[in-house]
Symmetry: C2
Subunit: 221 residues, 2 copies
């Protein structure tokens, strides 16, 4: 569990990678920054003994993740009971292609967070509304205040699960190529190609007369 603002998540066997430990981090600042930079996660759970990994939207609120689902979806059925559903939630940003002189040293730059824990379905209407707004704002900050809020029927049809951030780690690769000394003179191009998601021109629906809002126009891309 985090020990407060500026603190760290639990560093134990589960949250310590077996490889490239020097790329791992457990501090809240690093973990939260990676989570806050995305809106799509991969949710893993076990069904009939076998792993299942599904993409879904999430939001971070303090030391919690809210994951979007819908009533009837497989993962959420398990999260309804008191016991909850053991999950692993992973968020990854691809930041660059690392092209080395040798095939072996090719790599990618990335930032990832892996969170282990037990997910529970959100049933309280106030928390459900907060979670739904947070998920909308995670996709596009400022958006939840500029659309029609969910009504009672819509809230009842929205399934969200909560995961406390406790057993969490980050892993990051940054920087340049790690070539072997004896390969440095080889004539191949080596270096890093930066990668980042870019937003195209917003395409208004046929029923939109409004100007493109500032929170959308000013979004970095």
């Amino acid at each position: 569990m985090s020990d407060g603002p500026g603190g760290s998540y639990t560093r134990d066997d589960l949250t310590t990678p077996t490889r490239s430990k020097e790329r791992a981090a457990w501090d809240e600042e690093t973990v939260h920054a990676i989570l806050d930079a995305g809106s799509l996660c991969h949710l893993g759970f076990v069904r009939d003994g076998a792993p299942v990994v599904l993409p879904t939207l999430y939001a971070r609120v303090g030391n919690r993740l809210y994951l979007h689902g819908s009533t009837g979806s497989r993962p959420l059925r398990g999260a309804r009971g008191e016991q909850g559903l053991p999950v692993c939630v992973t968020v990854t940003h691809l930041d660059g292609l690392v092209l080395a002189k040798s095939a072996f040293h090719h790599s990618v730059n990335y930032r990832s967070v892996v969170a282990h824990g037990t997910a529970h379905q959100v049933t309280d209407p106030a928390e459900l509304r907060l979670a739904l707004d947070a998920i909308v704002d995670q996709v596009l900050p400022g958006r939840s205040a500029d659309c029609r809020p969910a009504n009672a029927k819509e809230l009842a049809a929205t399934a969200v699960v909560r995961l406390e951030l406790e057993r969490v780690s980050a892993k990051t690769r940054t920087g340049g190529v790690n070539d072997e000394e004896e390969d440095l003179g080889l004539p191949y191009w080596a270096g890093v190609v930066p990668v980042a998601p870019a937003h195209g021109t917003p395409l208004p629906s046929p029923h939109t007369d409004a100007e493109v809002p500032a929170y959308l126009r000013e979004r970095p891309c």
Copy 2:
């Protein structure tokens, strides 16, 4: 199992989503196009009864996926035995933010593939070399022919697992906003913001005199 070129993957309970079935597809063309558009997957497996999801690089070669790992990494230990390791491999591309008039109808456009099966470690040196080259080319097509090939020692230090594509499905959301009829007149901006990964200017390593190669220069981004 796929029934050959232009065929379909198995459509059964495991590969049929419980939600939004109309967005699902099982044909090879759709599945392969989604897999070929990426290089980063999320690999799920079960350890001590709990789910684990890790990001890794992959390549598709025909009806197989090769997943990159490294000797000693947790998932691959389980893939070494004859029984192999039950896995779920998911690839997701975020294509757009769908901003509706109502919070409830906010969504994202995406393409995803979910593959269930048993992963086995690649031990044959020729297959290992093929897989490593394929993974390099998946990150950047044409690259494996323009770097130093792996030597025997490097191949021995590279762990790759193989997953036959058999129980596989694709899921896609495309298009515009699905608003409620009664919300269409609301004054909020609604529409779709396209999203796609973009490549920045290649940053050469200090040991690179070569020109930026054509396969990198001409890459769409």
